[in-house]
Every structure is written in structure tokens, then in C-alpha cells.
Amino acid sequence: MTIQFNDETFRDDYTFRNSEWAIRRFPFPFHEDSYMYSVNMERHRGGPEGSVYEKRFDVDEHYISEMRDRAQVLADDPLRCQSLPHMTLAGWDLLELIMVSKSEDYPDLFELHRDGATWRWVNKPLGIDDTFTFMDESSLPYGPMEYITRQTQGDFAVLDQRENNLWMDAGMVTTQADWSLDFDIGMNFFEWHAPVPMAHEMGVFKRALKFLLNVQQGSPARRLNWTMTVNPLLDTSPENYHKWGIQKTMLTPENVGRKQHLRVELQTFFRLPRSNALVFPIRCYLIALEDLVTVPKWGRRLHRVIRDLPEELATYKGFIDNRPMILDYLSQYDDGQTTSPGIWPDLDTEPPLRR
């Protein structure tokens, strides 16, 4: 299908909206009526047609506006994009991975023409048509990682692999859920997850690291993570907490359906071939509660998940204070009927809301 790109903002007047199409393909993260933390990795090898899992790098109606928001964040704070000197090769790897993937997966939007080291890249939505020399940084306006991630939705952590560990040595991070590249740059896997509060959690981290060290070329992996954000704000960075933290106090029973968003990260992991580094794209999808409940199964289930979530998790995810208000709202959409297993909306088979 051809994508109708939205003209919208993720700040100030927040004109961000999801179309009917975007709502139905939203990556709803709960496959049952309760939630338990787990690493839940699976192969990133396509998915149902039209779903956000289908392509290697999903492009949707928010593409152009998200890229405009990224450019604004970078103009205000250039340190959101950093790459240590030994990571340039990984940057070229990433540029190649994205250009090849997007031109194959979206031939009507992106084209890549390669003639030896001379590459021509056409990005129609953003109006870019550049010819450059692969592996020659001087032929691009930015370093290779910055160049391509200014044109790709989602944050990117590029991790060097050495000493049986992963090192956060490059990244483009402008839409993060409360972490800072500038703080984490150069840290290894355990350092950037610190402080790890409980000893038994250490086992989870060790297993996750072992899994990631073994992600191989040609076999990318993915998982989902989620949190809650007030207003469709992409840049919920610690640097800007003073700006967005306060928005949590502006929620009212009248505006909660419109302002409270479920924020889902589609995290993928690819081994980069030339550098043997690992890239970790973190793609953020936002949906307002009032849009989410138009899918009856999701309305029922989200109510139950949020209601039964342990206190520590609601605190960790930053919505403990607003939980009663969110539950009041969601309870209107939970009529107690059972839900079908799995994450899909099942609009044709799930019963409508009984009032």
C-alpha cells in the first residue's frame, strides 16, 4: 500500500494522531490478560502482512514528522548522536543494512543503485537523492551512522563486541524512554544497566547478554518493551525531564483518554557484518488510550494488565501516581468478557463491548 504521511508534531501542540490503519497495526504488547517481565526474544524474520513486524525497518505514516522531530532534537543537543572513532566501520555496516533493507522492502519509496563503491541513494519521502562513495566519509554530509539514522525511525544503539561483552560505543538517541546516550557512551552492558537492584535480576541480565553476544549475521532477533507516556512525546530523555515530568501532573479524568499514551518499543538486534558489532534499533510506537480502546479486546486486556501490575513495576514504569485515574478510564471498556489469546486485534471474532 502507499503510505499517507502525516504532518504532525510530537511537542508543544501535539498534533500527532494515529489513523485507523495505524491503530490496527499497533504493536500491542500483551498476549494475555496479565504481564510478567521476561526477556521474550524471538527471531526477527518478518510477520503478518501489514504488521509492524513484516519489514526489517518498519516505515509508517509518522515517518516524515518523526524525522523532522529528530532534526530538531539534534539541533538543540548534538550530543544525542555520538560515535567513538573505532565505530565508523559499524556505521557503514548500518548504513548498508538500512539502505539495502529499505530499498528491497519499500521499492516505491527508497532506491539504492550500487556501482562498485559509488552508491546512489534515493529517499523519496524526504526528497533526498545523494551519490556518495561507500567507505569514504568525506562524501557524505554526516558520518555514515548519523546520515542514515537521520532518515530512519527509532533510536539506535550501536554496540561494539569485545571481551565477551557489549559496549555502547555509538548511537543516535532522540526518542528514548528515559535513558541518556551521553551518560552511557563507552559503557559495557553491565555498566549501562546499573544499578541492578536485586541479585536475582543479575541472572536475567547475564542470560540476555549471552543471547545478544550470539546474535548472528542473517539471524536478527526482536522483543517488545512498553511503558506509559503522557502526551505523544518522543523525546522523554533524562536531559529534558524538567520539561516532560511535569506533564504527568496535568492528567485529568476528562483528558486522560486523549493524553495518556501506551508507549511500545519494538527492539531489534542485528549483527553487523564487517565490524562484527551489534546494532540495537529501538522503535517507539505511541497510541492514545482513547484510540486503543476502539479495539474491544485491547481495551479489556489493558485494563486487566494495568490493574494487576505489581506496584514496583508501575513505579518503575513511572505511572504509579496516575494509575487510579487510568484505571477509572479503562474500566469503562472492560465488560468482563474473556479475551482471545495472542496480541492481534481479532476485530472480526471478538465480541463488541457490552454496556
Binding site: H86, E96, M135, R162, K210, N214, Q217, G218, R274, S275
Partner: protein, 320 residues
Amino acid sequence: MSAGLEKLPVIVTAKVKLNDLVTRFEFAHASGKALPPFSGGAHTVVEMQDGAKTRLNPYSLMSDPMDPTQYAISVRRDAAGRGGSVFLHDKVQVGDKLMLGMPVNLFALDLTARKHLMIAGGIGITPFVAQIKQLQTTGGAFELHYSARSQALASYADDLRAAHPKRVNLYLDDQNQQIPLERLLSGQPPGTHVYVCGPRGMIDWVLATAERLGWPPEAVHSEEFLAPQSGKPFTVDLAQTGKTITVGEHESLLEAMEREGVDAPYLCRGGACGQCETRVIAHDGTLQHNDHWLEDDERDGSKIMPCVSRFEGSRLVLDR
């Protein structure tokens, strides 16, 4: 991460005999597509159909990592081995089709290093050939010290010396030349990483010398693929799949599981990567650990690496 890993169908485009022991095989993608780039030090698992038997042998890629038109491996004929190298030498011809596993790197360059000091013995030269080509493209200081039995058996020494006369040093056993290891490891600038690939004895020598001279362990890299050892046949119960299988004399436990259609993970098939690690549920007998992976305290009967390790005794139950 196992039999489900992506594979590359290739066609043999060249078979070049370098000397009495070593033959190079070159491959192109069977349908003419580009082969994926890789990083210097990566290996591929070559899948050979030898009659009813599927042979899977790992070899270092030694072509230019940036060249998508071909892959190359160099195979040392191991007459005493289990037959994979002999099969390649004697049976595989130009035009034959094979399957290759996607490149996997367990011997990567540390790109934070200021200098790469490479020490090769015999056929252990192959990963360095690809790494040197990588460094030629990306820039990076290196020095190679390569020891071989004789000039005739010093595969690629001439090419390497012609391309990098100041950086490549050759030592021949039949001329009584030896790598001046002690001196080399003492006189390096800070930020140097040392890499060794070759026979077991050489690896031990380099690791021990580096340790004695105070090299930090993270700056010392080695790669050795073990070939699975033959041994007495034994029987294994697989708890998850409910199968009972017998491992033949010249077969590894991993190969026996694959033969029986059990989806068992692997990457290196040589006891180095850890991927095949399997929990031992019960055993009555002796586990023969032949891997480089398990820590000493894990060799307590709780785990086994089926790609290289065996068992002798009356009963073994694995979590597979």
C-alpha cells in the same frame, strides 16, 4: 543458531593446490547473488553431502571481507582426521554445489586496538589473511609473525610478503628459525593486541608467555578449532525428544543428534563458542570434556559440549 540458521548455497569456482598439504577452494553464490560481507577472522561451516552422510566442517574465511563476489577457504589435508578435509581434497570439484553457514566471527579484531600483533602457525594463517585485507581497507597498524615447516608449506607467505614487505615476517622450522616471542611481546606500544592462531602447542606458548609478561587477558586473543575426537560408541537418552541414540566411534554427539533429526544448536562445532552447551540430567560413567568452553567448576557432571565431548559409562541422560 542451529540447523535453522541461514545458509548460503554456493558453487565451487576454483580449486587451487597450494602445496602438498593445502588446497584453496573458492566459492560464488549459486544463484549469482552477492555474498554477504563479513569481518576478518570469521569462519563458515561447510556442509558436504558424502553419500548418506552430511559432513559439517568449520573453516576460516580468507577472502577479502569487502568482496561480495567470492568466498575462499584453505583446507589442510588431515589424513588422520575424520574425513571432511580428505573429502574436500579428493571429491569436491569446480562446479560442485555446497551449502555454507553464514559467517560467524569468534576471532574478531579488537577495533579499539592501536596495533594488531598477529602470530600464525601453519594453516592458522588463514584468518589473518582476511584480517589483513580488512585492515588494508579500514587502516590500522599490524605486524604478522608466521611460522611454517618449510618454504614450500608456507601457504600465502609470498603473497603476504610481496604486499606488506615491512610487516610480514616468516620463520621456517627446517631452517631452525623461531618466532622471537619474548622480544616481540616485550617491545610493543601500549594499546597493542596480540592474536594467535595455530597448533595447540603454539597457542599455549603464546598465552603463557603473554601472561608471564603481564599482558592483560583482554588484549590476548586466540583461536583454535578442535576436531571432534573419535572414541568408543556410547548411548544417550534425550529427555526432551524422548529419543535414545547411539553415538558412533567416528561421530560426535552433536552429529549423532543431527542424524536423528534432533534440532541441536551449534556455531563453531569445535568446542569454542559455547552455543551447543547442554545440561546433563543424569549420568553413570565419565564425561570426557574436550572443549575450551566450560569453566573447571562446570565440568562437574552438570554440562556437556556435544560438538567435541564424549562419554564412557552405562547411562547418560541429556536435556535435549
